[in-house]
Assembly symmetry: C2
């Protein structure tokens, strides 16, 4: 579904979108740090933002833009989160939008803004102004890779995807760039994700599709259980594909939603796999729950357990820690109904840690990708959670982030 | 209040108690691993146990003993948790009690049992039997140090305390041994704590005092956010002090409760300070909350944040991560009302990360003990949480625990 060719196109794969990423000197290491994405044709816009009560200035500004229902651009930076910066922070976030709007010839409230990086520092607005001007000048159909690199922080690579699907007789395209890494957990995290599409869709349906897709993707991944001040997932839909406008939840909507959901899940998996210091990508399937919420709660409890995560880092088979985390999840489980598998091998069954072949288990645990299946035996609902292990490298990355 | 002399006496400081710790070969490293504490005079017994729905066999057995209201002994081992061991596990835990009861000449339901260590393995009952017999033979007034060492696992030292207070004209003594380290969090953790006292008190009041004291001590500490299958805090009160029996919540009860609470808080602090891999002991005072529960929730959110913990490990001043964890705690806070101090230096005030002296901050962060004050500005309730940092050593300890 996602070819390498598509990846290069990224957010510029849908018709009518251009992008750029430039070096503005905001990141200490001198890498690309200001990104702009633009569509001349007005786009319907939808967004999902952090639920942290301490949210960054750009989140407040972007919520207003989403409230208007339409947008023309995204301007984003990495290296400084513009969070906990008070009135000055709000003025700076608004200034980012104004600067981009002036260069692009649109209104301030047509511009989504986003920042990621260190909390508590003010944006260097002189660098930002030069960066935004340079980025707008560089906007092109080939700019997605640079834009993607300009929003990453401790990520080891930029996450990007593109694909297409037929909707209402037209080819509808999708593109995305995302960043994640640390501070990733349910209900969003230090992640930014910008999705472009040329579908023609009612804004309320676009928001519904994004909210629903986020629930089973970005809200089902976790790196360290922390939730950031800046998380933002935004989709722009400019209608350039020329499909029959989607105005109800019929077949076309379902096709659109299924594709958007797949994109969000694939990006969530990439973000979890590239969690700070991650050496393992862990997928936790919880089945047999009474509700999706219960299944998610159990999966998250396991995924956020430092003991479970360090055991997988050590390639150590420790089913006790897993069942223990199921037991304190807050969901009323019955230990004697539960079974747990690591890589298809049963390690816990109805109250007992089982015997398993050491050689087969070694093969499971030394692999990069590990699948944990947890059957609760209580109902028919399920959830899948994506996470990574907890390694020495996580500590190293986070012990001296500001210095 | 707690002299070194008292520490040596430990659980044998109160009149009428003896203890022993022996090597039974359950720990792989050959250290002391079976402990017995005994009072010939029948004791009132109270207990608080893990709330994990997956709880170990000895927890179930000990709850029954507490239900009878009286006990004569505690038998405990380290090296094997006897958790997730099904019917066989329950039979083994009951056998531990029976073996000790037979040697001591009391009933099986007079014996509290406890185990800590690896989850999912069966107790080696032949070793256990020999160990219990040897421990009972060795019971003495000098046995507390060995008993304390026999219940530790990854602890770097045994936690013990003893003290006395005048109640109703008599000198009432208290002694305690405890183990903690990893898997320590609110609502108990991989911790065992046995408290002895020669006070004469009604059993229901003893249980109330222990439950209340646990709420502000062991339930206010966290190492890694995990909650164990085996946590048990038990107090035996044999009445040998000859004080006027405490039968209501009058002055004598208040004196008793205040002392018990102080002991529990001191032990909780020791356990947090000796968390797995800890290089810092962190005290988080949350004030200005609308309720104790809210204050605790905020403090725990900060204390369990891997990002906050790794920043302190790195001696890195990162107030952004702290306010971020306050923001996602689930308590309806107002960022513009919050102030945060590290070691008395204000780092966040009413929505803004503040400027602070780099030299003064270095002095705060390079110290072993760090105090974090969080004022919410919402009410008059408060809570104090004890925790430690997250270090390379934590990963090292937990990455290959079973192998």
């Amino acid at each position: 579904m996602f070819s390498d060719n598509h990846k290069t196109a990224g957010v510029c794969y849908p018709q009518g979108f251009t992008a750029a990423g430039v070096r503005a000197g905001i990141k200490k290491n001198g890498n690309l740090d200001v990104a702009v994405i633009y569509t001349q044709k007005e786009a319907a816009v939808a967004g999902v933002f952090t639920k942290n009560l301490v949210y960054a200035a750009p989140v407040g500004v972007s919520k207003v833009v989403v409230g208007t229902g339409t947008a023309h651009a995204v301007v984003a930076n990495a290296g400084c989160a513009n969070a906990c910066t008070g009135e000055q922070g709000i003025r700076d976030a608004e200034k980012m939008a104004t600067l981009a709007a002036n260069e692009l010839g649109c209104r301030q409230d047509d511009v989504i803004v986003a920042s990621t990086g260190l909390i508590g520092s003010n944006l260097p607005m002189d660098k930002m102004e030069a960066g935004i001007k340079a980025a707008v000048k560089e906007l092109s159909r080939e700019g997605s890779v640079n834009a993607g690199n300009a929003i990453i922080t401790t990520d080891t690579y930029s996450k990007t995807l593109a694909t297409e699907v037929e909707i209402g007789g037209a080819e509808v395209r999708f593109g995305a760039i995302a960043k994640g890494s640390g501070m990733i957990r349910p209900d969003m995290a230090t992640m930014l994700c910008f999705i472009t599409t040329d579908v023609d869709i009612d804004q309320k349906l676009l928001q519904k599709a994004l909210s629903d897709a986020t629930e089973v993707s970005f809200n089902c991944m976790t790196v360290d259980g922390d939730m950031s001040t800046n998380d933002s997932v935004v989709v722009l839909a400019n209608g350039a594909a020329g499909n029959k406008r989607i105005v109800d939840e019929g077949e076309d909507y379902q096709t659109f939603y299924a594709t958007l959901k797949t994109i969000c899940i694939e990006l969530a998996k990439k973000i979890a796999a590239d969690g700070e210091g991650a050496s393992k990508f862990i997928t936790i399937n919880v089945t047999g729950a009474e509700s999706f919420a219960d299944a998610k709660k159990v999966g998250m409890s396991v995924a956020n357990s430092p003991l479970v995560k360090t055991a997988f880092f050590g390639e150590d088979c420790n089913p006790g820690r897993t069942i223990c985390a199921v037991g304190y999840s807050g969901v009323p489980v019955s230990p004697e109904k539960i079974s747990i598998k690591f890589g298809g091998l049963t390690v816990y069954d109805k109250g007992l840690v089982t015997k398993y072949g050491a050689d087969a288990m070694r093969e499971v645990l030394t692999a990069h990708d590990i699948i944990v299946d947890i059957e609760l035996g209580l109902g028919n609902e399920s959830a899948t959670i994506y996470t990574c292990d907890l390694s020495f490298q996580y500590i190293k990355i986070n012990a001296d982030y500001t210095t």
